[in-house]
């Protein structure tokens, strides 16, 4: 009973938080609303005994929202908490697409004859996940790991303003390096 009530409260929070992201009139509030939605989904995962996934989701999204707030201050050129804004295009088309997709998904969810539950969760779900990842499902980890490394490299390459080629020329032989702010001993 308590779990049911908690689930419905968290579900309403998750949906309303998500909707508030595109309704509130400042990007800072939108960030908080998105964080609320993610935390609610993470707590639902915790209700389903997925301790590791739930905690990871909550921790990751709280950090991401902090980064996102910094980005808004950097790129919007305004105080995002104080400046009202509404920057949308194709609102009707977007609403129609979202409504159509929801109708499609909801009809599928309600009409499908779902099978009954097969099996029961392990006693320690987190340990079972760890054993699965270090055993039969190691390929998933082996694929995710290089993807993460590639993401780090690609992110740095895309975001870096000046690389070693800008500083030392195409042949990397320019000395001293061409830096906007000279520094170091004797320079």
């Amino acid at each position: 009973m308590v779990v049911d009530v908690a689930f419905w409260v968290l579900s309403v929070l998750a949906v309303l938080g998500g909707a508030a992201v595109f309704y509130v009139d400042s990007m800072a509030r939108a960030t908080y609303a998105l964080a609320l939605s993610f935390i609610a989904v993470g707590l639902v995962a915790l209700l389903l005994q997925q301790n590791y996934v739930g905690v990871v989701t909550i921790l990751m999204m709280v950090m991401e929202m902090a980064v996102m707030a910094v980005y808004m201050v950097m790129f919007m050129g305004m105080n995002p908490a104080l400046m009202p804004m509404s920057m949308v295009h194709g609102k009707r088309m977007a609403m129609a697409a979202a409504g159509g997709v929801f109708a499609l998904l909801a009809s599928g969810i309600l009409l499908v004859d779902w099978p009954s539950r097969r099996g029961a969760p392990a006693g320690d779900v987190t340990m079972a996940l760890g054993e699965e990842l270090m055993g039969p499902k190691m390929l998933a980890m082996a694929v995710v790991s290089p993807v993460m490394v590639a993401t780090i490299v690609a992110g740095v390459v895309l975001a870096a303003h000046r690389t070693r080629y800008d500083r030392m020329g195409d042949d990397l032989r320019r000395r001293p390096a061409d830096d906007p702010q000279p520094g170091g001993v004797g320079r």
């Binding site: 689930f7 579900s11 998750a14 949906v15 998500g18 909707a19 992201v21 595109f22 990007m27 998105l34 993610f38 989904v41 639902v44 389903l48 005994q49 997925q50 996934v53 990871v56 989701t57 990751m60 991401e64 996102m68 980005y71 790129f75 919007m76 920057m87 949308v88 295009h89 194709g90 088309m93 977007a94 609403m95 697409a97 979202a98 997709v101 929801f102 998904l105 909801a106 969810i109 779902w114 539950r117 097969r118 099996g119 969760p121 392990a122 079972a128 996940l129 699965e132 990842l133 499902k137 998933a140 995710v144 993807v147 993460m148 993401t151 780090i152 690609a154 740095v156 895309l158 975001a159």
Partner: protein, 95 residues
């Protein structure tokens, strides 16, 4: 639970299509992945609560991480190269 996930997914879809600010588009995409996490967790619990389903959830979270990191990097690049923070200012691929 799947209906809740569908609702969150469609809210995110609306945002991803309608918003003009790059960061807000990213928020829409993240909401859609948030819905996928919820749906996968529901499938895991109600259909087959085996560790394999949790591995799928971890892969989804990894995909969200990649989307977030690359989105921020591209937003930085767009702003540096074109002073652009809106999708309408970055509609062509030529430098």
């Amino acid at each position: 639970m799947l209906l809740v996930a569908a609702a969150i997914f469609c809210v995110g879809l609306y945002g991803a299509i309608s918003q003009q600010v790059v960061v807000m588009v990213m928020m829409g995409l993240e909401l859609m992945i948030n819905a996928v996490i919820l749906a996968a967790a529901g499938f895991w619990w109600f259909l087959a609560p085996e560790p394999t389903g949790q591995v799928l959830l971890l892969v989804i979270i990894a995909a969200m991480t990649v989307e977030m990191a690359m989105g921020f990097a591209v937003a930085t690049l767009l702003h540096r190269e074109r002073e652009a923070d809106m999708t309408d200012m970055a509609t062509d691929l030529s430098g």
